[in-house]
């Protein structure tokens, strides 16, 4: 049994031969963070009394939802055969929206633990993350987790994993992040099987930025992996892409609390602080070098995450606009994936068009904005980005249906994805039907084992990003899993559907849809608004239209009674208070022409829960 390291190797003076850098990758919820907990405990990095479940999920929202959003790197001491090693472990997120977090973590490692829930087997992000790790030439250690579960089938899934990676089922380690069983053996295996980092200690310093986090107290904290040379406190460093230089105010390792050190050497993973205030000044993927003795070549790029889904965010109370503006500015300090620009809506007033990685990213960002800045927000129906070419050959990018040009359109291109779906083979029919409905084109199908298939489709992003996953889950009784990545674009027959209240167009309700789905959208939205908008003193027609052509209509009948006809005796105060309340209620109405539309109607009409309901009907 390997004891806890008696003397941990000291940062800046650690021989690369005793360093092992690895990350834990898996499908969502397969137990990465829980396994990381056991490692923190076993190595003594976190004291017994400070321990709590998913220790590295530090954000409130991570803890509430029980998911990891941000990767976390931690330096752990571990002794094997009398030698003390320094292990850098990175816990990564499993959700597909945060795949870019995984890929940046991989770039800092030589190895990856591919964790698979022994009761679930291989799922879509298991594959996606495995392929990512292989592209980065990482050594993979396959591990089955949750073997304490009665429903675990370690033999079966060990065989599946072995055939996927190439190897023998006996080589697949079996652990339980919950009980700690097998974790020591895993640590030993990491030391034995993973290659040590290599690099030139005498070359000019080169360190790869794999994460950048804004901290209110310390400014931007930049996480790096040193490849060549050495970084030391107080020296001036340079960002190779921008040539901007900064003084290294602090450098150190996370263990898991930040611990300043005398520097970082070849193969080491740690953090640095320069006093910059914006994560964009310390860009993920950039190379840090020494200003006095700069490297000639950078380590090579890392791609910026690209927003996939766009939604308008508007404060319910127009006077909160400056608060939202400042809040978004602060958020982007810490979230390079978030992009935004101001926009105005006739119906909703001033707000921002914000780009996200996916719906979970949208949901989490919105929830955090509301909570941390005490805002009430309306988010408009999410959209993908379309490329519209006009007849005069000019092209424009459209992320907001109300900016969709009228008239002279030559063609519209929509973003596509390649999607991988894993499910038990009995669901193949249902999955194909779903993908066909969503305008998918079958790319291929493979059996991963006797009863598990991998189905590949090319689909429009707009068809999968909103409710597709829920439908897939319900059609596969929860067993299907989905992964997707961007895959170019294609010309499609798309139209804009407008919604008109009393003849007046309400920009917030417009949508860009495939021509064949325009009618369904029109019927759904007009029907929903009829339910949501209270009756007015006059009849209100609600129409859905493509250009000048009406494709669906509903109408809200005029209200006929709005008077309290009861004997109130002398209690006039009560009557006046009631009137004042009604007037307050009116202030929460948005005027669309003469029609009073309650804020709640906007929220309900635009909320994604509702669109899920619609899809299930």
């Amino acid at each position: 049994m390997s004891p806890m390291a008696r003397t941990a190797p000291v940062p800046a003076a650690t021989d690369p031969a005793i360093i092992r850098n690895f990350c834990i990758i898996a499908h969502i919820d397969h137990g990465k963070s829980t396994l990381a907990d056991r490692m923190l405990q076993l190595t003594g990095a976190v004291e017994q009394r400070d321990m709590k479940a998913q220790y590295l999920d530090r954000m409130d929202i991570e803890r509430e939802r029980g998911i990891t959003i941000k990767s976390q790197a931690v330096r752990l001491p571990w002794e094997v055969d009398g030698t003390a090693y320094a292990l850098n472990m990175i816990d990564t997120p499993g959700h597909v929206d945060f795949t870019y977090e995984v890929s940046r973590s991989l770039a800092a490692c030589e190895g990856a633990i591919l964790l698979v829930d022994a009761a679930q087997g291989i799922e879509a992000q298991t594959l996606a993350n495995l392929y990512l790790a292989m592209e980065n030439n990482l050594t993979i250690i396959p591990v089955l987790n949750k073997i304490d579960l009665p429903a675990a089938q370690p033999e079966k899934y060990a065989a599946e994993l072995a055939s996927l990676i190439g190897g023998e089922p006996e080589d697949v380690l079996k652990v339980s992040g919950k009980t700690g069983m097998g974790v020591e053996a895993l640590m030993d295996k990491i030391v034995r099987d993973l290659p040590a980092p290599t690099g030139n200690p005498d070359a000019p310093a080169r360190a790869m930025i794999f994460d950048s986090v804004y901290d209110t107290y310390r400014g931007v904290v930049t996480y790096v992996r040193v490849v060549d040379g050495k970084l030391s406190p107080r020296e001036r460093i340079q960002m190779m892409s921008t040539r901007a230089s900064h003084e290294l105010l602090e450098i150190g390792v996370s263990s898991p609390e930040p611990k300043p050190s005398k520097g970082l050497g070849v193969g080491e993973v740690g953090y640095l602080i320069t006093g910059v205030k914006d994560v964009r000044q310390s860009k993920v993927g950039d190379t840090v070098t020494n200003l006095a003795k700069p490297a000639a070549e950078s380590l090579g790029g890392y791609q910026d995450p690209k927003p996939m889904v766009f939604s308008g965010l508007y404060p319910l109370d127009g006077t909160d606009y400056p608060v939202l503006r400042d809040a978004l500015a602060k958020f982007t300090l810490n979230d390079a994936a978030l992009v935004y620009e101001p926009e105005t809506s006739a119906a909703l007033g001033f707000g921002f068009r914000v780009g996200f990685l996916g719906l979970l990213h949208l949901e989490i960002t919105r929830e955090r904005l509301e909570r941390e800045y005490n805002l009430d927000l309306i988010s408009t129906a999410p959209n993908v980005e379309y490329e519209v070419t006009l007849e005069d050959r000019r092209t424009l990018k459209v992320t907001n249906p109300s900016e969709y040009p009228v008239g002279k359109i030559a063609e519209v291109r929509e973003p596509m994805v390649s999607a991988t779906i894993l499910a038990p083979s009995e669901f193949v029919g249902a999955i194909m039907e779903l993908c066909q409905q969503r305008r998918g084109v079958l790319g291929g199908m493979d059996y991963l084992s006797e009863d598990r298939v991998e189905i590949r489709y090319r689909l429009p992003l707009a068809e999968i990003v909103f409710d597709f996953f829920d439908l897939l889950k319900s059609k596969t009784r929860g067993y299907g899993s989905l992964d997707w990545k961007a895959d170019g674009d294609q010309v499609s027959d798309l139209v804009k559907v407008d919604i008109l209240l009393q003849g007046e167009q309400v920009d917030a309700f417009s949508a860009i849809t495939h021509r064949e789905k325009a009618y369904a959208y029109g019927v759904m939205m007009t029907g929903k608004l009829r339910e949501l908008i209270p009756r007015q003193q006059f009849e209100v027609p609600i129409q859905a239209a493509i250009g000048a052509r009406i494709i669906a209509r509903e109408s809200i009948r005029a209200i006929r009674k709005d008077v309290l006809a009861k004997c109130y005796g002398g209690d006039i105060t009560r009557k006046r208070k009631l009137l004042e309340k009604q007037k307050e209620g009116k202030k929460r109405m948005k005027m669309v022409g003469r029609v009073e539309v309650p804020q709640e109607a906007f929220i309900a009409a635009l909320s994604s829960d509702e669109s899920k309901d619609k899809a299930k009907k």
């Binding site: 006059f538 209200i559 006929r560 004997c567 006039i572 006046r576 009116k586």
Partner: protein, 409 residues
């Protein structure tokens, strides 16, 4: 369950009014409302401040109740005088409830005598009591007439048995014409209270109710749309789906039918829910509320208004009696209306009247809204031209919306 009192400022123990309450008092009518908080049973739809014998439990008894009201009348006279208000005779008195006629007629008579000896009556004073049809006799009505009552308002509600049943009304429908006849014989003016839009009531049922009420030849009819008040038994039966919900469109149809049938029979609206045979038959006490007159409200939970100060008494009969017994004002809270509040109330109340609201009393915002209200068919153009905002039939049904449009945001 009785409805809640408003939240306001604390009321002083001595009941004294702020100095400006006396301003212009000579030009305002002065009225008295007497609340009788007792009922034989509580109707399922009712949230008035009233108590059955079992709800009351021990303590405040009906027998001693008249004594407490007498004490409050005495207090009222002292408060008004010390607050600098001129002595004014009562132009109207109204006994409401609850069921005033549940008390012995002699008790009501002695309260009325006390009011008269305290403040005196204006020459044509109107004195009304509410009554349930089964709580009066020819004798009790004669005693009331002799004591000075001039009007009685019967809670008829409906002529249709299944509607009465949903409303939990216990009186036999045949009892109503009898009670009306006795009141007439005693020399009292007669009004009938009706409720429309009860769950399960058809338009034909309502027509029957109106026709039946008219066949008794009343001088006055109040027709109220049933309101489902929070906390009532009827509200919870609807919530549980035992009784269908009420419907605003149904209310609108029934209001229109009431207007049509009552007008055809020679009764004319003078307030959204009230119709009178001649202008002299309009309930002047009711008008006093809508016109912002002064009145003293005696009894638990009663509301008063004098020169821009409104106050209300504690709701329960027991602390009410205790306060008066200890020589304290039974007021639980009050509010002193700002100029803005008074304007809002003025618009809110007077627009409900047939006589309407003088256009020149409106602010410029209000005056600007009038054209739109005429265009939407809510306000009568001819009356507006002559300088008054008077609701059309359509406007009466949307009176609250009209008020919101007349007032600034």
């Amino acid at each position: 369950m009785p409805s809640a009192l408003p939240l306001g400022l604390p009321a002083p123990d001595d009941g004294l009014l702020p100095p400006d309450a006396a301003d212009g008092a000579d030009g305002r009518d002065f009225c008295l409302y007497v609340h009788i908080p007792f009922c034989a049973v509580r109707c399922g739809y009712c949230d008035f401040n009233t108590y059955t014998a079992t709800e009351l439990g021990g303590g405040a008894s009906q027998d001693a109740y008249a004594g407490s009201v007498l004490a409050e009348i005495g207090l009222g006279a002292r408060v008004l005088e010390s607050s600098g208000l001129p002595a004014r005779p009562l132009s109207t008195v109204f006994f409401g409830g609850g069921t005033p006629t549940l008390l012995p007629a002699e008790d009501l008579a002695s309260i009325l005598r006390a009011a008269r000896s305290t403040w005196g009556f204006a020459p044509d004073a109107e004195v009304t009591t509410e009554a349930n049809p089964d709580s009066v006799t020819p004798e009790s009505l004669r005693i009331l007439r002799d004591a000075g009552f001039t009007r009685v308002s019967f809670g008829m509600q409906s002529a249709v048995p299944h509607v009465l049943a949903v409303l939990d009304r216990t009186h036999a429908p045949e009892r109503v014409p009898q009670a009306v006849q006795w009141a007439r014989d005693a020399g009292l003016n007669v009004s009938l209270d009706l409720i429309y839009g009860t769950p399960g009531e058809s338009l034909e049922d309502w027509r029957t109710t109106l026709a039946t009420a008219l066949s008794y030849g009343p001088d006055h009819i109040s027709a109220y749309a049933l309101i489902i008040e929070d906390g009532t038994r009827l509200a919870s039966r609807i919530r549980r789906g035992q009784v269908p919900p009420i419907d605003d469109d149904d209310h609108a149809d029934k209001y229109a039918l009431a207007e049509e049938m009552l007008t055809a029979d020679g009764l004319h609206w003078y307030e959204v829910s009230n119709w009178a045979r001649t202008p002299a038959d309009a309930c002047r006490h009711n008008l006093a509320y809508w016109r912002g007159s002064d009145w003293w409200g005696a009894g638990p939970g009663a509301h008063s208004h004098v020169g821009g100060t409104r106050w209300w008494n504690v709701k329960h009969p027991r602390p009410y009696a205790d306060a008066l017994g200890a020589g304290r004002s039974p007021a639980a809270g009050r509010e002193i209306l700002s100029a803005g509040d008074r304007y809002v109330e003025d618009v809110m109340l007077r627009v409900r009247l047939r006589e309407g609201l003088p256009t020149q009393s409106l602010t410029s915002t209000g005056r600007r809204a009038v054209a739109g209200l005429i265009a939407d068919g809510l306000v009568d153009p001819a009356a507006a031209f002559a300088g008054r905002v008077v609701l059309t039939l359509h406007g009466r049904l949307l009176a609250d919306a009209v008020v919101r449009r007349l007032l600034p945001d």
